[in-house]
Symmetry: C2
Subunit: 211 residues, 2 copies
Amino acid sequence: MTSINVYIADDHPVVRKGMVRLLKTFERVGQVKEAADGKELLALLTNDRPHIIILDIEMPVMGGVDTVKAVLQRFPNVKILILTMHSEEVLVRRLLDMGVNGFLTKSSGPEEIEKAIYAIMDNDFYKNAITENAQGIAGAEENEGRRKLTIREIEILLLICKEMTSREISERLHISEKTFFNHRTNIMEKTGSKSNIGLLKYALRKGIIST
Amino acid sequence: MTSINVYIADDHPVVRKGMVRLLKTFERVGQVKEAADGKELLALLTNDRPHIIILDIEMPVMGGVDTVKAVLQRFPNVKILILTMHSEEVLVRRLLDMGVNGFLTKSSGPEEIEKAIYAIMDNDFYKNAITENAQGIAGAEENEGRRKLTIREIEILLLICKEMTSREISERLHISEKTFFNHRTNIMEKTGSKSNIGLLKYALRKGIIST
DNA sequence: TGCCGACATAGGAGTTACTCCTATACGGAT
DNA sequence: ATCCGTATAGGAGTAACTCCTATGTCGGCA
C-alpha cells in the first residue's frame, strides 16, 4: 500500500497548522497540503489531487458545503472527511447524501483522526457517533410530512442562527437579498416557523445548532 | 388559627378548576374563589380580600406581572404564590424583589401546594428549588457590567421569544409599537444582542425560557 | 420639599427587512 | 421530451425597525 496524500482546508490557522503537524506523524500518511478556504483548496487541486481532503464545514470565504459540491463534481473519487464543531444532524445527513466519507469534531484526539483516515482509505467510510446519529434522524424528519431542507437552505439557516442580517448573509453567499428572502420564506414554510425566532428554535430542536 | 381564604387566577380552566377542587380538600383552607385573568381577580378584590392569591404568571388578558404589581399596590399584605411553567430565573428574581411569597410549577403535587400555602401563612415565604436558584443568579447577572433588565423588559423579552410580532406584542400589552421598539432596543443594548436571534439566545443562556 | 434619575410611554422621519407575485435557468427523474 | 425541484432574482408594496426627541410618573435623596 502506497502512502496516503491528505489535504486540509480550515480557516483557523491554529487548527490547520496543528492538523498538518499531526498528519505528518501518521505512518501511512505521505504528502500533506493545506488551504485556508474552499477556493484555495480548489486551486491546489488543479495540479494534483490527494486521496483524502479534510474539510472544515464552517469556513468564511467558500463554505464547506460549496467546497464539497465543487470537489466531488470534478473528482468523484476523492474522499472527504468533514470537520464539524457541533454535530448538526440535518446537515450531516445532507452531506452524507452528497457522498462525504466521514465526520470528525475538532475535539477529536490524534488516534481518532488516524483511525478515520485509515477507515476511509480501506473501507471508504468512517463510522462514528455522528454518522450513526444522522441515520436515526433521517427517518424522523420524513415523518413530519414536511419536505426536507435542501443543503442551500441549511446553509442559510445556519447563517440566520448566527445573528447575521439579510444583507450580510446575501453578501456572504454572493446572492441577491431577494434570493435570500426566497430561501428564508421556503425554510419557514418547511419548518412551520413565522420568524427568525421560530427558525432558531427549529434549528435547536433538530440539533442543527447547539445553544 | 382561623381558616385560610385563597383566590386563584389562571386562564386555563382545567388547571383553575382542578386547583379549586384541590384547595377545598385542604384542612386549613376556607373560602376559595377563582378568576380567569388579572382583571377578574382585581374585580374580586373590591369586595373582600383573601389571605393568599395563587397566580399564573402567563395569562393573556392581564399578565401576571401587572397583576402582582396592581394587587400589592392596593393590598400590600396579601400573600402571592406564583404558578410558573418553566422556572424563568431572571423573572423569578424580579418577582421576588417585588415581594412575591413563593413559586410553584404546574406540575407540583397536591402535598407541595398544601405545604406552600401553609409555609407562606406561617413564615411569610415558601422556599423551594425555584427560589433557591434565583438567589444564585442574582449576583452573577450583576457582574457582567450590564444593567439588569426591568420587569417590563423581561415581560417583553418573553413575548418576543414566543415568536410574536411587534404588532401582536404591542396590542397584548396595550402600548404603541413605538414603545415596544424602544423597550426592545433597550433590551438589545443591555443584553448585547443585535436582533431577535440574539435575544432568544440570551434568554436561553439565562434560563428565562427553556428550549 | 424639591430635585434627579430610572422607567415607561410615544411621535416624526427615515431606513431596512420582508412578503407576494412573477419569471428564468438548470439538472435530474420519468 | 417533459416535468419537478432547486436556485436565482426583479417590481411593488407593507411591516419592522432605528434614531432623535419628549412627556409623565415614581421613588429616593439632599
